[in-house]
Structures are given as C-alpha cells and as structure tokens.
C-alpha cells in the first residue's frame, strides 16, 4: 500500500517536472502584463494581436510550408526506399540499413553545419530551399523506420498473386501493397511532420535571407525577452498537434475495431 502510494507520488512529481514549463507558457499566454513572472489579469489580447505580427506570421508560414513539403516529399521518397530496402539482401542491405540511421545518430549540430557547408560549396543560396532540403534529409529515417515493419508484416505472396492475376507491378503496388502498409506510411508522415515543425538546430544553420521558422524566431526573441504573442502561438500549435494525433489515433482505433 505504501509502495503503491509512493510510486504514484513519484510519478506525479515526474509529470509535474515535465509539464510545469508548459503550464507556465500556456498560463502566461493569457497574462495581460507583458513581463514574464508578473500576473496582470486574464486577457485574450495576445491571441488577437498574434495575427497582426508580421514576423511571427511569416515564421509560422515558413514552418508549416516547410513541414508540409518536407514530410510529403520524405514520405514518398522514404516509402519507395523502404520497399526497395525490403527487396535487398546481404551486404548491400546491411549498408543501406546503416545509412538509414546516419541522420539519426549524427548530432544535429554537425548535420546542420555540414549541410550549411555543402550548400555554400555547391552554391545553393541559404534560404527556404536549403532549409527544405535539410528537413527532408532528417525526416527520411522516420518514414523508412515506420514503413519497414509494416512491409515485414505483408505477405510477399500477395504481390506475386496480383502479378499472376495480370496486374502490372505498378498496379500491384498501388492496389495491394500500399493499402497494406498505409498505417506505417501515415505514422511516418506524422513523425516527419512533427520533427520538421519542432526543428531548430538544423534550420538555424541551413536557412538565411530573412527566412525563419518559429523556433528561430523564439531563439532570437529569447535574448530580448519573449513576447507573450509567441506563448499564444505555441499554445495554439500545441493544441493543433495534439488534435492531429488524437484524430490519427482515433482512426487507427476505428480501423482496428472494424476488422
């Protein structure tokens, strides 16, 4: 009994530790006093003002545009690569598998600055395009690692059966394989999207010329003191991402019960 209670208290403290900064951030997005730490009463002003802040809105635009494009592109490239990888054997497969992990084990600061050096060397101007290329690169492993296990579960015979029944390989993939691995593709896409939205370090090194994402804007603001408008924006974004995950979770749960 004592153990039970103490373990609950311990877990509650861990959650308090993890959620205290988030709670502070959200509460202060409703604070009418501008400075952090002083409570001046409840207001929704920051939420209203948020939409008139050019700098914040443009960084939000770049964040979302980059996340959508990078995750769509990484999902397509990564799914095709996962299918290819499942057809490989022996040393080439082992080497490719190692390559998949490279962007994950490489420290993000090294990835960011090495890509910056690359873009400068091959004369791609630092800006939205270079940031997008970098995001696609670090999103790829998440897609591949979400799709591969699903491919393992699908039966190779299904693909052969489709060919026997006269499907072209492309049709067999579109009608048989892709529907089977769809949950993995969706997970990969969502992971890639959230990784891209949250990225700071790689973006920081690979962007330029007035193109900033939300994280870079926060970093710049942190030196001058953070504007409560950012708290409002983050509260909205956090709620949005949670809603997205909830919907995704609901859908997979529905699919399971239907079966």
């Amino acid at each position: 009994m004592v153990r039970r209670v103490s373990s609950r208290v311990y877990l509650a403290l861990v959650f308090l530790f993890l959620y205290a900064p988030i709670a502070v951030l959200m509460i202060f997005s409703f604070n009418s006093a501008r400075s952090r730490g002083v409570w001046g009463g409840f207001t929704l002003d920051w939420y209203a003002q948020l939409f008139h802040d050019r700098q914040i809105m443009s960084s939000l635009y770049y964040t979302i545009a980059c996340a959508v494009l990078a995750s769509v592109f990484a999902t397509v490239l990564g799914t095709v690569a996962a299918i290819g990888l499942s057809g490989m054997r022996g040393l080439p497969r082992a080497l490719t598998a190692q390559l998949v992990y490279l962007p994950m084990i490489n420290p993000d600061i090294v990835m960011g600055l090495s890509l910056m050096l690359l873009f400068i060397s091959i004369k791609i101007p630092l800006g939205f395009l270079s940031m997008l290329l970098a995001h696609i690169t670090f999103c790829l492993p998440f897609v591949i690692l979400s799709v591969l296990p699903k491919l393992k579960q699908t039966q190779a015979e299904l693909y052969d059966a489709a060919l026997d029944l006269g499907a072209t390989p492309l049709m067999a993939y579109a009608k048989v394989i892709i529907p089977q691995i769809r949950p993995g593709i969706l997970t990969g896409f969502l992971l890639a999207f959230t990784m891209s939205i949250d990225d700071f370090v790689v973006s920081f090194f690979t962007t330029g010329n007035g193109v900033t994402n939300v994280a870079i804007t926060i970093y710049a603001m942190a030196r001058r003191g953070m504007n409560p408008k950012i708290n409002a924006l983050l509260t909205i974004m956090f709620a949005g991402v949670i809603l997205l995950l909830f919907i995704a979770n609901r859908r997979t749960a529905d699919a399971k019960t239907r079966r």
């Binding site: 039970r4 373990s7 609950r8 311990y10 877990l11 861990v14 993890l18 205290a20 900064p21 988030i22 502070v24 951030l25 202060f28 952090r36 730490g37 490239l77 990564g78 095709v80 690569a81 299918i83 290819g84 499942s86 057809g87 490989m88 598998a97 190692q98 390559l99 490279l102 994950m104 084990i105 490489n106 420290p107 600061i109 090294v110 600055l113 090495s114 890509l115 910056m116 050096l117 690359l118 060397s121 696609i136 690169t137 790829l140 690692l145 390989p169 492309l170 949250d198 700071f200 090194f205 994280a215 926060i218 970093y219 942190a222 953070m226 950012i230 974004m237 956090f238 991402v241 949670i242």
Partner: protein, 273 residues
Amino acid sequence: MRKKLLNGPYLAWMLVFAILPLFIVVWYALTAEIGGERSFSAGHLARVFEPIYLRVLWRSLKLAAVSTLLCFFLGYPAALILTSRQFRRRSILVVLIVLPMWMNFLARTYAWLTLLEKNGVVNSVLSFLHLPAFNILYTDAAVILGMVYNFLPFMILPIYSVLYKIDHSLIEAAEDLGATPLVTFRRVIFPQSLAGALSGVVMVFMPAMTTFVIPRLLGGGQYTLIGNLIEQQFLTTYDWGFGSALSLFLMALLLVTGALLMRSRGDGEGGLW
C-alpha cells in the same frame, strides 16, 4: 520489376545530403588555406588539443555525464512504475511522457527562466511555504536541469519498452523461490533491462554532449560548452577549419562511445526502442 532499383533515388539523396557534407567537414578540418592555396594541414586538429579547448571539452563531458546519470536515476524508477500493474490505462501515461516533446523545446526551455527566476514561480511557492529560496539560474546546475528536463523522456521510453517485455512468470518464479523484492529486482529485473538502459544512456548522452541551445538559454551570456564553441566558429568567427576540426573530434568521440555502449548491449539490432 527489380525492387532494388527503387533504392536509387534514396541512395542518391543520402549520398548528396548526408555523406558528401561529412566529407566537406573532414576536408575543412584537414586542410588550411595558406597564401590562397588549400593544402593538407594538421593545424586545426592540433588546436583542438590546446588546454583552453580541452577544458571546454572536459566541462561538456562532465555536464553531459552528470545529466545522463540524473536522467537514469530519475527515469529508471519512473519506467518501472509505469510497467507496474496498478494503472488501468497505462498506455495513456506513456503518451503523457512523450507529449511535452510536441511543444517547441526552445520555448519549454525558455519557460524555465520564468520558473527559476529570483521572483519566479518556484521561489514564490518556496517562500509561501517558508522555505529558503532556490537560485540556480545561469549556473551549471541550471544547465544540467535543462538537459535532464529535455532528455528525460529519451531515458524513460527505452527502459520502459524493455521492462514491459520482461516475462512476468520469471518474476513470479523468483518470488515463489523466496526472493525478496530487492533480490528479484537485482537478479531478475535489472539484468534484463540493461539493453534499454544502455539505449537510454546513449540517447541522453549524445544530445547532452552536443547541445548549444540549453547552455545558451539557461547558462547566461558567455557560457561555453563544446556545442557553443562549434556554433561560434561557424557563425561568429567564421573559422570553418577549426569548427570542422572540433566537429570531427566530437563526432569521433560520440561514435566511439556509442559503438562501445551498443556493443556491450550485444543484440546486434540497431533499434532505437
């Protein structure tokens, strides 16, 4: 259709955007421009071993190691509690561990300033309870706190996932054979959780060793860990050669520690969790 060919675009992509950049880092680290000509030189690498930079490295290693240990000692019990059968919907609790990661980590780290300030939330609560004030902002302790805060889920999750898979009948067998809870833990549960614990250690130590944001935000103005030093070389002093040499050294260091730890894990699977 040959499936293998489908890998072509991906391999080409990785060659250009993952492998080639690393070669450029190596190139900058090992060459120096003298009189308009680039030639091989060990100068940048030699500078890495100058006492002032070794001190930065040592400090980074120390802070990362302390953070990793703290994460382990805080995270292991949490993972263990999460696997216990007292919670009806523990999958929700596990999701709650991950959820904070969906709020931008810079903002969350910055929010600690509000909590830790002299007149901040933590001190207000402490003074309300008539307890002494807690001032750690802009010290090593604040940086360690920031690292533990940010990386704790990376410790809890891999440990949780191995503990979750432990065959419960083994624990019951140990209990039937008269083992006390402590002995069961030491001889049955803990040895089987080592693989997860090692993944956790690697996943915390690596980012703790390379972060430059947490020391910048919580460590105050002129705080230098190796991540800050590297960032400075690229974006402030434009010494790309030295910056590349530092990155190369850091990568080698992490690769060796990572490989050693993962080898002792000995399951051959590179899986993250």
